[in-house]
């Protein structure tokens, strides 16, 4: 069914019931929801009816029952209003209804919508108003006893703008609410359900959730990342709680190649499902990019190590210094591993296209390699100057690390302008404060050397052309604008690709043109039976929580696979604007709680963490700002 029988989505009425010319609704169910056989759906933004025979009264009542579970109870109108509506409809269904009741329903729905404390209460009842307005005859028939309620099957889904933006779909309003109510322990448990590295993510996540926060356009988003960090820090202060573990063990063993966020998340979830799990790691330390790709001033190692330790204590075995080249899939399978998860990350820097970059000059060091060496404890001699090439977080990490190591001059060159820089604003601002010099609209064309040592870099100026497929303006070289910069060190950091071990070639795991492993986007299966892949080695370099979430999903997929079942589809709100609601109401402005940063003068002294976190009362105050924009959707399953 392409055309809805009726839709009030977003307040836009489409009514095709009386044989009028068919008009399409604003929203396309069920396709958009990812479920089959929806005959009618009710959500925060309206009512959408596909099947003219759907029972709208029952749908409304079931919607209210689910809404009641989400209505937190902190404000009286939403809490009691929903109860009152359920009582009124209940009375109608029992034959005790009255025409006047519909008027009261209207009064309550409007009253709750204008005077609730949070965005859930302010949006949730609009579709009820629609159902009694546009399906009024059904309700009148019920009151007169001419109609009985039908028993249908109902399903529901809940999201929020922040949850939609979060790659791991964390229940952000949920854990913030627990912070507000001083329930830090419960908040942490809720976070851990989908994010097994809360202290890490709470420090390094570029927080797409905050960009989606409804407060973004009002007084700045909630500091969701810092709230997550506050919960993790509090737990650590209190001695560090263990993960809820499992003692039972299934027979099946799973091998995970790579101990980065994807591998760790998969390991944790598979342990929860009672599988035996072994992680094989090439490097002498666990953590993947989280340990070798991020400097200590952003993520102190003890935070990461603590969180890895908790996973190990659940019975996950991590074998370090294990060259994956020496493993092959058949051998692993022979050793009894029923499934293998490839999560080797993307640890090789991409080339910048400058002459001489492949000559192995002294002073020319790839960005990821630089960070890896530094993080594994290699002593790096400070030089009088370094030029870092690139505009992403890796480039910024390299530059800001150089400041701390003691380089006299640290410069970044980036081929576009500041506006197009992929690094987060806070990273750029802090780097500027620390004295990193940014040079925009230029790119290196040749590495200059003397006796095999870098002496400078020849660059060409760029200008911005039309927008390319990435949505950013394409940089175009300006002919004849070449110039040279003196430097003794060049660190290219423009991108990464997976270092696919030899085993992959030998075992014929299919690889894409970009050098990443080919895996099914839903099941994460590769072309080889029992072998799954996820994280950066599949997506290319992505943010930590994306890799971690793939780990969560791969674990689920492996579980289905080992139990011999097909993977179930997940509900998706993709393509639905969850920020939209029919009436926003008044929101008093209140800026986010501030957080202290380490004095700039002290930063060149070492790798001390720059950002301090919220304490308990700061976190509780910040949590108060959450508008709790839960979006509920309930639908009738066609019989």
């Amino acid at each position: 069914m392409d055309t809805a029988s009726f839709s009030s989505w977003n307040g836009k009425i489409v009514d095709n019931r009386k044989g009028k010319v068919a008009k399409s609704a604003d929203i396309k169910f069920p396709a958009q929801l990812g479920v089959d056989n929806v005959s009618a759906a009710m959500g925060w933004n309206g009512l959408v009816v596909m099947d003219p025979d759907a029972d709208i009264i029952s749908l409304t009542m079931n919607y209210l029952k689910e809404a009641r579970k989400l209505s937190c109870g902190e404000c009286s109108v939403c809490r009691i209003g929903i109860d009152r509506l359920l009582d009124i409809f209940g009375k109608m269904a029992e034959g005790d209804g009255n025409k006047k009741d519909l008027f009261e329903v209207q009064q309550i729905t409007r009253g709750v919508s204008v005077n609730s404390k949070c965005n859930f209460g302010r949006s949730v009842l609009f579709p009820v108003l629609d159902s009694i307005k546009y399906y009024r005859s059904d309700f009148l028939a019920l009151i007169k006893g001419e109609r009985k309620l039908e028993t249908k099957e109902y399903s529901y889904a809940v999201t929020a703008p922040c949850m939609e933006a979060c790659p791991a779909s964390l229940d952000i309003p949920g854990y913030i609410e627990l912070i507000r109510n001083s329930r830090f322990e419960e908040s942490l448990n809720l976070i851990r359900e989908k994010c097994i590295l809360p202290g890490v993510v709470g420090r390094v996540c570029p927080h797409p959730c905050e960009d989606a926060c409804v407060r973004q356009d009002i007084d700045g988003p909630l500091s969701i990342r810092l709230l997550k960090r506050a919960v993790a820090d509090y737990d650590l202060q209190e001695g560090g709680s263990p993960l809820t573990g499992t003692v039972e063990e299934k027979e099946e063993k799973v091998a995970i190649i790579g101990s980065g966020p994807a591998g760790l998340a998969a390991a944790y979830n598979l342990r929860l499902m009672e599988y035996k799990v072994t992680i094989f790691e090439t490097l002498p330390r666990a953590g993947g990019m989280a340990t070798v790709g991020i400097p200590d001033y952003r993520l102190p190692k003890d935070i990461l190590n603590h969180e890895i330790d908790l996973i190990k204590r659940m019975g996950v075995e991590i074998k370090l210094n294990t060259k994956v080249e020496k493993l092959n899939l058949k051998e692993l399978q022979k050793k009894g591993y029923k499934a293998v998860f490839l999560a080797v990350g993307a640890h090789i820097g991409t080339t910048i296209g400058a002459e001489g970059e492949d000559k192995g000059y002294e002073g020319f060091v790839d960005g990821v390699e630089f960070l890896r060496d530094m993080n594994l404890g290699k002593k790096i001699q400070p030089q009088k100057k370094v030029v870092v090439v690139g505009g992403g977080n890796t480039a910024l990490d390299c530059a800001r690390s150089c400041v701390r190591i003691g380089f006299d001059n640290v410069e970044i060159i980036y081929r576009r302008s500041r506006a197009e820089m992929p690094a987060s604003d806070e990273e750029i601002e802090e780097a500027e404060k620390e004295g990193v010099k940014f040079n925009y609209l230029m790119t290196p064309v040749k590495i200059l050397e003397k006796d095999g040592k870098v002496t400078g870099v020849e660059c060409i100026k760029m200008r911005l052309g039309v927008h390319d497929e990435s949505g950013r303006r394409r940089p175009i070289p300006v002919k004849g604008s070449e110039f040279t910069m003196d430097t003794v060190m060049v660190i290219p950091a423009i991108g990464q690709r997976p270092d696919l071990p030899a085993m992959i070639g030998k075992d014929k795991v299919e690889v894409t043109d970009w050098g990443t492993i080919k895996a099914d986007p839903v099941s994460f299966k590769t072309n080889i039976e029992g072998v799954f892949a996820g994280g950066d080695c599949v997506t290319g370099p992505a943010i930590l929580i994306e890799a971690m979430d793939m780990g969560n999903k791969v674990a689920r997929s492996i579980d289905y696979y080992l139990r011999g079942e097909g993977l179930k589809r997940e509900i998706s709100f993709e393509g639905v604007n969850t920020r939209e609601q029919r009436e926003q109401g008044f929101i008093a402005e209140k800026a986010a709680e501030k957080v202290d940063l380490l004095d700039v003068d002290k930063r060149s002294e070492g790798f001390a963490e720059v950002e301090s976190g919220y304490d308990v009362s700061e976190a509780m105050r910040e949590a108060q700002r959450c508008l709790r924009c839960y979006r509920l959707m309930v639908w009738e399953q066609a019989g």
Binding site: L70, C72, S76, R79, Q107, I108, G111, N115, G174
Partner: protein, 236 residues
């Protein structure tokens, strides 16, 4: 100071002050069941609703937790405001028909209050005053909200009591508007939230005057030696 207009009266208001505070200074009466001037605002009862003009449109907000802004225009007595307050009171009355403060408030705001039921109930209306007093004044956090929410299978939201943290001070009973929080005193014992506290006797007059747990808590917080604390206010 910022300039604001309440019900047509132009006044200067302190930055960061709330609409409710300014209205009170002007002797404009705004109903509320969950507000206490010593505690942070919470916005539970929704009775203090007022209208605020933003982008040329009047919008509803609660006056207790909305800070004034330069140029803010406020209406505390429009038809919409009265209707909104009446509905909030009506809902509270629907849920707690026998609780005296709720009945009085409902009647005052134009809700038909039946005389059939007697005003003898002492329901918890979830105003949150006790939770705030416990955390903000006493700083023990023995009382917390248990909210409903996604994945939490809770039928009715409620106030939770942690006996381990309670010192028996009775602040919660003092701020409770409905009499739900009961405090009983039996000779050398005080009972609150079903927890029994041993009372301390004044070293001078011998009268029981405060729970021992509370005195110990004060001693720990302030550093005042316990033997000094074991003298009641009258004898100090």
């Amino acid at each position: 100071m910022v300039n604001i207009i309440i019900d047509g009266r132009k006044i200067k208001a302190k930055e960061g002050s709330t609409i409710l505070e300014n209205a009170e200074e002007l002797k404009i009466e705004i109903p509320t069941l969950c507000h206490h001037k010593e505690l942070s605002p919470f916005g539970a009862c929704r009775l203090c609703a007022v209208e605020v003009k933003t982008n040329g449109k009047w919008k509803m907000t609660t006056s207790c937790n909305t800070a004034v802004d330069q140029g803010m225009e406020i209406r505390t007595d429009s038809d919409k405001v009265r209707e909104s307050r009446r509905l909030s009171a009506q809902l509270l009355y629907y849920k707690y028909p026998t609780t005296a403060v709720v009945r009085d408030m409902a009647w005052k705001l134009g809700v038909e209050v039946s005389e059939d039921a007697k005003a003898e109930g002492h329901d918890c209306i979830l105003c949150g005053l006790c939770v705030r007093a416990c955390r903000e004044i006493v700083d023990t956090g023995a009382l917390t909200f248990r909210d409903r929410g996604l994945g939490r299978d809770i039928d009715e939201p409620r106030i939770e009591f942690d006996p381990k943290l309670c010192i028996g001070c009775g602040s919660c009973a003092y701020v409770c508007p409905t009499g739900y929080v009961k405090m009983e005193a039996v000779e050398d014992k005080r009972i609150i939230w079903d927890k029994v506290f041993k009372m301390a006797a004044c070293k001078v007059c011998g009268k029981y005057f405060a729970p021992q747990d509370q005195l110990e808590y004060i001693g720990k917080k302030t550093g005042v030696p316990l033997d000094k604390l074991y003298i009641c206010v009258n004898c100090r």
